[in-house]
């Protein structure tokens, strides 16, 4: 009888564990993903504003504008977080935690992605222009005074 109870208990625990696993592995819907992206971007902005305010305070300043920016960003993040929690309850998915450190940002990488095609085309056009210009420059050169020695 006791052995039977143990078996039932193990089955219940296994069932609960697999259920929670399924819960945590539920895919995040696209609507929530876009909210997450927005939240994380705002969080990065907030972390940068925190750092800027901290640096200003260390310089002996009272950066009121930065405090206002921080407050505004925090409120926006809170609103998005509430919407995400509501979605998570309805659609049963886990919300990833807020990032706590400033992500390394390489502006040249972003720039390269957005202007890459244009830059390559400009470089090709420039190479052609250089070739033509080179011919014109050297043919117009006058070495008379240089050779007068």
């Amino acid at each position: 009888m006791k052995h039977r109870r143990c078996q039932i208990l193990i089955s219940v625990v296994t069932l609960l564990a697999s259920g929670s696993l399924a819960w945590s592995l539920a895919p995040i819907p696209s609507r929530a993903q876009s909210l997450l992206r927005e939240r994380d971007q705002l969080q990065q902005d907030l972390l940068r504003a925190d750092q800027a305010a901290s640096e200003a305070m260390l310089r002996g300043e009272d950066p009121v504008e930065l405090y206002a920016e921080q407050t505004g960003l925090q409120e926006q993040i809170d609103i998005i977080q509430m919407r995400l929690e509501s979605l998570a309850m309805r659609l049963e998915f886990d919300i990833p935690a807020l990032p706590e450190s400033i992500r390394e940002f390489d502006p040249s990488q972003v720039l390269d992605e957005s202007v890459g095609i244009g830059r390559r085309r400009a470089e090709a056009a420039m190479a052609h222009q250089c070739e033509v210009a080179c011919g014109a420059i050297v043919s117009d050169m006058n070495f008379t005074s240089f050779l007068a020695f």
Binding site: A127, I137, M141, F146
Partner: protein, 135 residues
């Protein structure tokens, strides 16, 4: 006494002949140096940079003194800059041309490049490749 005079006259004549031959050799060397430079300038004007480099190698072996060595170095810079520009590397061309010692030659290149929409000064000061070339 007469014997001494004859010896002295012969010595003087010998010295003069020696000096003359040395002068002739120097004049010949100078002419060959100048010809090599003229040929290299001609090749540069024709955009035949390989031939120009050949003439400059010859001129380099004939160069005598700082002035002549500087002329060879300047033409090498003209050649290198032109090759770089021809290959689509305007920044490299600018740094070569602006390193030319002969002020007249350098100013001429700056002016001619400007006429073609290339700002050599900007190219050496800006970081982005291609800046200084106006479309």
């Amino acid at each position: 006494m007469l014997h001494h005079w004859i010896v002295l006259t012969l010595c003087a004549a010998g010295t003069l002949c020696g000096c003359a031959s040395v002068t002739q050799v120097e004049a010949g060397r100078h002419d060959r140096f100048r010809n090599a430079l003229v040929e290299s300038c001609r090749s540069i004007k024709a955009s035949d940079f390989q031939a120009a480099r050949g003439h400059l190698r010859q001129a380099s072996t004939l160069a005598n003194g700082h002035e002549q060595t500087a002329k060879v170095a300047d033409l090498r810079l003209v050649c290198h800059g032109a090759e770089a520009l021809n290959a689509g590397r305007p920044r490299e061309a600018a740094s070569s041309w602006l390193a030319i010692q002969d002020r007249s030659l350098k100013n001429q290149l700056v002016g001619l490049a400007h006429e073609e929409g290339i700002d050599l000064m900007m190219l050496t000061s800006n970081r982005q490749a291609g800046e200084g070339v106006n479309p």
